[in-house]
Symmetry: D2
């Protein structure tokens, strides 16, 4: 069965919600596993070996100070080992990010995930979604946040993880997970 | 007196509204002039000479297909002449963009404006604003759209130019214009 | 048979050489066709229909003033029609760029091609190559120019198109074409 | 006297050489101080207070896996404290990066430094240099590496810190330091 690894960092729990939605979407088409990077930027010992066996690797992090959290970057820097051996080459890749602001440089984080994936020779898959951008649209609509390269989520600064990301962003995350799993399945076939 | 040139393209009038707000902000501290690029990507003959005398050049365009409109890029490519002579070196620079989606790759357009300014040896000034990102915030609040490198505006796909950009985005544009004019005045002194 | 469309603009002929190398690489595994954007930013009438039938679309342009040439952007903006219908969704995508400088913001052009592809819901494939970055390496080596997201070429400002891009950059372009054709063939299967 | 703070991380010593060159350039016009981030991503206790008093902050890091080293990002994330108070607003900013490859996504690191600076409301100053991009140019020439947004350096993978960055890149770094110090002095006046 197709294997999807979701490697992410979450500072306050909002990005965990988004990661779980990506996982739920991917799980419809694949075995999907969450790998949570801890506060020191580390993963459990076995994680790197398991990730190396996945067909797709999805990257997730809040956007902090205009880019992925340092804990995520520590993981990315540690991936220079598989990079050197091109061990992740041809694995499907994708990404998601969450932050408090409507825009807030989220695109920069997705650009980084893509840049990382290209160093690894991965194949990048975005949301494949049109935006919901009419006057009547709002945070309950799929892709109101309007991410194309990856799934975006907006969690207002005073919203707890049980309030945000909101319905539309979580469904967008689910759809990203499903799309990446499908693409990886096609590619593995 | 400090001179601020605002060079922009607008497809349907929304970006013109944003450009006018930038101009209004700049006009409090400087002589501010709008230069509208036409549908064929051209400026009036005298524009390039006038821009060469400005203390600050502000770039504006809608975000179309993930970047500035081709009409703006035609202007940018034509600026290879002043580039060759480094005629815009040390002029202050800034930028603004508008599109229908909440996020929609607007950041990529601002990144491009900055990249262009750096080829020219310009000094980049962003919004200098914190975001309005609590649950109670909305499109009437300054920097709800949350641009830092430049001013962002959201004009829903079914909103006419008299409806959008909305109050918060227009005030953000005004504040950007004022900040750039002030910075240029300091440098020119 | 798998179809690869290569849509590009070339100002002085160097990027045409690079495009031909991409085509030669792709032609080993697919039917590969070059579509040259003209000086006014237009394609032959039939081109958009043919591109719509391709399994992969590869984007190419020199890097001018920190991004793709305006003629390429005009094509990109015209692709808002297929975008609206998501007609290019799931097609494989890739890109290449050439400029006179060693670095010179080439990465910004590749970022743009990727951003465009993501609006279209395409699947991005980069070079999948390690860099040639030891002291003994030079312009005759594959990926000395060190592109990951796309193929890069360096054509010094006083080098004619029969002198540059040089051997290593042309071979890198060939390998990108071959990789994209292979990936598209896998997906089409 | 104008104060310039240079905050950087170096993994193997090459970026330290580049940082020292930036410092030497800045020292002609200002009091210039190096702040080296350690292997755990930390700065000495007093550093953040001193940086808060500087007129300019210059960011430096090797490009690892397509972006700044995680140790630098840890510093950037810790700067959310001064960000919250906008304590670095209006300080001049600039950046530099080094990596083994000719291109190798260095531009992405400079883009990140700029993005960080814009969150802080800083004023960005790049190299202001034309590229050395004719056939006869090489690593001993100023800006052969061709950075505009920031200073770039190429240190081949088998070159020790006493061999690389090479003459041209070190002089480029010096000129960046001098330009930022001059700009900060103008601005502080």
């Amino acid at each position: 069965m197709t294997k999807v690894a979701i490697v992410y960092y979450s500072g306050y729990g909002h990005t965990t919600k988004q990661a779980e939605a990506v996982r739920d979407g991917a799980a419809k088409k694949a075995t999907a596993t969450l790998y949570a990077i801890d506060k020191d930027g580390n993963l459990p010992d076995s994680a790197m070996e398991e990730i190396a066996k996945a067909d797709a690797i999805i990257y997730g992090s809040p956007t902090y100070m205009g880019g992925p959290a340092w804990q995520f970057k520590k993981f990315a820097d540690a991936s220079s080992k598989p990079w050197f051996a091109q061990a992740w080459k041809n694995k499907v890749a994708g990404g998601f990010t969450n932050s408090a602001s409507v825009n807030g440089d989220k695109f920069a984080t997705i650009e980084y995930f893509w840049t990382l994936s290209q160093q690894h020779g991965q194949i990048w898959v975005g949301t494949g979604l049109l935006p919901a951008n009419a006057k009547a649209n709002g945070p309950n609509d799929v892709n109101w946040s309007a991410g194309f390269g990856g799934a975006l989520a907006i969690s207002p600064s005073d919203a707890a993880p049980d309030e945000a990301p909101r319905k539309g962003d979580l469904e967008t995350a689910r759809l990203l997970g499903a799309r990446i799993a499908e693409t990886a399945a096609k590619f593995a076939a």
